[in-house]
Amino acid sequence: MDENTEYYWCELCGHVYRRTTWEANGNRCPNCGADLQYAHPWEEIRALNPRYPATPVVGREYTMYGGA
């Protein structure tokens, strides 16, 4: 698991936030409160969705396979 990733995508609600925002929120998703187990480094999601941008829009919802 890449702990140096800058963005986490939340598997529960699909929103993306900076890792530091998750940390500031007690390591929970700032949108839905999900545990870190639901957090996936943006790079992992982007590997599934080549059409997604390298830098996601913070706070935006991305579907899991919306850019495949």
Binding site: M1, D2, E3, T5, Y8, E11, L12, C13, G14, R19, W22, E23, G26, N27, R28, C29, C32, G33, A34, D35, L36, Q37, Y38, A39, H40, P41, L48, E61, T63, M64, Y65, G66, A68
Partner: protein, 341 residues
């Protein structure tokens, strides 16, 4: 498992967990086929039930059609549930439309339900984060320390003759008409929009077939569907042997595997309930659509835990309190007896 809460990054997940991601891909064709085989027969059966009421058939002949119609409505609700996880259709808009429409039909405000349901996924089996999207549960110690009016109200609430009779109807028909107090204000307008759509549905029915006929058809369907929904949710998270833990000990994989059941139902019931019995898998990978759950389960021996069956699920009827010392659900009677010793 590393302590994810301190490390600030997701813990390493087993290979089989990562492999499950491949099943989280929605498929429009399968989803449409499911809808075709569920929603259209349901609408047909509803029309037939209305016909029997409007043309003076004995009411028992209408009631004969209640069970199959309800089964299809419950299955439709599972589609709404998938939509709430963004897993039914690939398109978020299609999921939102489907969720809203099925929600209106079953008197559930979809958008707020989705918020509460995601909250439930974020907090399930966690004794320190109870209170939203779940069936109220308190511990033995909390029950014993509570003043008698609170104990009495909890006792009434958790009694099977309330929880599985009038309880679901009060929840769906009354409580869900108002926004949840702890929900963000941004969720509130969607509740009123759902209410308006439900009012339009009822008014439309009154102007066409008449309110009496509409209710003679819908009331038994609603009551059975709501009660079944509450029962399923109850068996999924408050079965005998369930794992609940305080925040500092809460472990995601344990919560998924042991804090959510595999409710193994006979094939027909499994179809009607859209594989929702594979609930431990659903909590592990919430974006697996209902139509891929069985396939994902079959391919993952690591999650083949002992299931709860139709018969053993009845043991949960008297799961009233959580005993933090014994780490199990107990009945009011057991808690009182243990205190007397």
């Amino acid at each position: 498992m590393p302590d994810a809460k301190n490390a600030g990054h997701p813990p390493d997940r087993p290979a089989w967990f990562r492999d499950l991601a491949q099943y989280e891909r929605p498929d429009t064709r399968v989803a449409l086929r499911q809808m075709l085989l569920t929603v259209i027969p349901m609408l047909g059966l509803l029309a037939l039930m209305l016909y029997t009421v409007l043309h003076g058939f004995p009411y028992w002949s209408t009631l004969l059609l209640v069970l199959p119609t309800t089964a299809l409505l419950i299955r439709s609700f599972i589609f709404l549930h998938d939509a709430s996880h963004g897993s039914y259709f690939p398109s978020p808009r299609a999921n939102a439309v489907l969720g809203f429409l099925v929600g209106v039909l079953i008197l559930t405000p979809y958008h707020e339900w989705r918020w509460a349901h995601l909250y439930h996924h974020a907090t399930f089996a966690n004794l320190d984060r109870r209170g939203v999207g779940d069936i109220k549960l308190i511990t033995v110690a909390e029950y014993q320390a509570a003043p008698w009016p609170r104990r009495l109200s909890y006792w009434i609430y958790r009694h099977p003759l309330v929880l599985f009779t009038v309880g679901p109807t009060i929840l769906f028909a009354v409580i869900q008409r108002l926004p949840i107090r702890s929900a963000p204000a941004s969720e509130h307008p969607a509740v009123w929009l759902s209410n308006a759509a439900m009012l339009a549905m009822v008014t439309g029915a009154d102007l066409t077939v008449g309110l009496r006929a509409f209710l003679l058809v819908m009331a038994p369907i609603w009551v059975i569907a709501w009660t079944t929904g509450v029962w399923l949710f109850y068996v999924q998270h408050q079965f005998q042997g369930v794992y609940w833990a305080r925040q500092e000990e809460w472990d995601f994989l344990r919560a998924a595997l042991e804090g959510s059941s595999h409710y193994k139902l006979p094939r027909l019931l499994q179809w009607c309930t859209g594989n929702i019995g594979l609930h431990h898998l659903h909590h592990m990978r919430p974006r697996i659509p209902n139509y891929r759950l069985q396939e994902a389960y079959d391919a993952t021996p690591a999650i083949h835990v002992p299931p709860v069956t139709l018969r053993t699920s009845l043991d949960a009827l008297w799961s009233n309190l959580y005993d933090e010392e014994a780490h199990r659900m107990v009945s009011f009677h057991e808690a009182a007896r243990a205190r007397g010793q």
